[in-house]
Structures are given as structure tokens and as C-alpha cells.
Amino acid sequence: MHEHVTEWLGAYLDGELHKGRQNEIEEHLAKCALCRSELDALSRLSAELHAFTPLHPSISSERFTAQVVLQLPRQVDRTLPKAFHSVVWWSIPGFLLLAWAFLQTAGLIAIIVTMSVNAGLFGDVSLWLFPPEHHWNLLSTLLGFLGGGLSENERAFLLLAHDAEMIIEHILGPFILQVVLGLMFWGWLAGWWAQHRQKTNNYKMKGNE
């Protein structure tokens, strides 16, 4: 650094430079009398600015505070929004867990019932619980009526569509729901962690005052 560093001297005096720049300035100051003089002048200016303090305000801090507090406008149920927000925030993981538990329970019950039906435990009641899939029968009947019967390809397509519907309805659907619930829970956890870190940083900032 060969040129003068006068533009950095204010920040140097205020302790606002990072270590690298500070070292550069100090190295330059060791060699440059002009910049040392400028730094000295800045120090004297700061001293002069602080040489005299204004008279204390006409009223004491206690009286000032009392006057301010008396003038504070009435707060209209300020507590509710914050408390309500807090209750809602901390209820989120509870609701997510309940939803997940509900899904698991419903899935378990469906498995048990299906197995029972397959084992013939429900007898004729199973016809009422699990009616034939009318829309598929109607569709194949309609196609048969229109086309004089289904071709092999059409039949294979219908079966494939039927299987796909079964997969989507009974496997993929619950899976996606659980993934969404999991993501929501992790999202809430990330939000809580971010707030916690922010509060911790603020405590640290306060400690630096």
C-alpha cells in the first residue's frame, strides 16, 4: 500500500476495520508521517467533540419516564395476538402427529378388514362393506355394448387402469400423505430452530453492548 490511507483512518480509529486491513494501515502508519498526523488530528477532533457534555435535561429520567407512561395510548387486547400465535405455533406438531397417527390407524384397520373379508369372516356383510366397483363394470359393459365385446388390448388396458387406481388409492396416496406430513413437521422444526438461533444471537449481541 503505497498511497496514503487517509480515507481509512476514521474507520481505523473507530475500530471498524477487519484484521487484514487494520494490519495494512498500521504498516503504512509506521512509514508515513502525513497519515500519522491525520490520525492524530482525527483523535483530537473526537476529543474536542466529547470535551463538553450538554446540561442534563430539564427533567429527571424518572419524571420523564412517568410523563411518557402517562401518555401511552391504551392498548386494545394486545396480549391476544401474541398468545394466540404462540398457542397455534406450538399446536402444529401436535396436530401433525395426530394426523399421522390417524393415517396409520386407518391403514391398519383397512388391512385388518381386508384380510378378514378375504378370510370370509364377514360373510354377506362384506358385500355391503365392499360393494362391487360399479364404475368398472359399467365401463366394460358399455364398451362391450358399443364394440361388440372388448378386445384383448382393451381388456388389458382396463385391467391396467384398474390396478393403477388400486395402487394410487391404497399405496401411493397414503404414502404421499405421510411424506407431506413429515415435510410439514420437519419444516416446523426448522422454523423453531431458526427462531431459537436468532434469539441466541440477540443475547450475544446484547452481551457485546
Binding site: L45, F52, P54, K206
Partner: protein, 190 residues
Amino acid sequence: MVDYDLLTLDEIQLINKAQQGDRNAFGTLVYKYHLGVVNVVYRICGDLDLAEDTAQDAFIRAWQKLPNYQPRAPFRSWLYRIAVNIAIDILRRQQPSELLEEQYCANEDNPETLVAEQEQAAQVQRAILTLPQASRVVLVLREYEGLSYQEIANVLDIPLGTVMSRLNYARACLRNLLGVFAQSLEVEHA
């Protein structure tokens, strides 16, 4: 009105209480920052009585905006931002009033020294008042309230580089006005 027990309470807790409507907690914050806010406004506007009235307005406005305060920045920076904005509004509406030398305290033992020091203090404040508003505010926040450059940037919502350049400009102006010059350069040329 001021609960001195609350003075030891963590500031974050005070703010939380005040945000929930606790006037005592807010009063504690007022007590803590009263002199700082008055000082900032006074240095910007040059009138102590006006500064006290403005400081009251600043605290009342802070109370009204307190539900919106998020602890991303120090409370002091947020409060000073409100006070500076009010002070700037006042400057736009009126000229800085004549300074009263009596506003300055000094060596009370010697009346002659008292007068001289009061005059000198008034000269310093007059010099500050001649600065452009933007530079004046930055100088006041740095020199009289000790805010860091980043805090000043947050208060005024300006870049860090702008803080530095305005501060350099303010100091250069004040050095000329107050006659604070670098030592002779004869040493360099010797």
C-alpha cells in the same frame, strides 16, 4: 412508575413484557434509553427543550409500533431509528434554533472557565449543526452514541460504505470549522 427491579431483567424479557402491554416494563426501557434519545435528537436539532419533547414523541411512537418489533436488530437501533426519523421531520419543518450557551455544563468552580467552556461547547454544536443533515445524523450516532457502523447502517437503512463516506465528510468539515489540523509536515520533509 419505574420498577427498578425490572432494570436487572434481561432486555429481551422487558421487551416481551412491554409487547404484551406491560407499561411498567416499557417504562423501564424508557428510563434506560431516555438520555441517549434526548442526546441524539438534541445533537441533530440543536434545541434541548425540543429534544425532550421529541424524545417523548419517539417513545410513544415506539410503544405504538412495539408489536411489530422483531429482535433481529438491537432494540436501541430500532428506537434510535424512530427518534432520528422524527428529528429529521422536525428539521424539514423548522430551522435549528439559536443555541443557548447555558445548555452546557462545564467547570462550575471557576466562572471565567465556565463562560469560556460554554462558548466552546456552543461552537462545537454550531459546527455540527452546519453539517448536511445526512452527515450530521451519522456523526451524532457514531460520536455521541457509540453505535457501530453496522448499527448506524441499520438505523438509517443505508449501505455500510455510505456510513463511512458520510462520516469521513462530516469529520473533514468539522476539522475545518473547528480548526483541527494535522501537525506540520516539516517532519516528513526533514
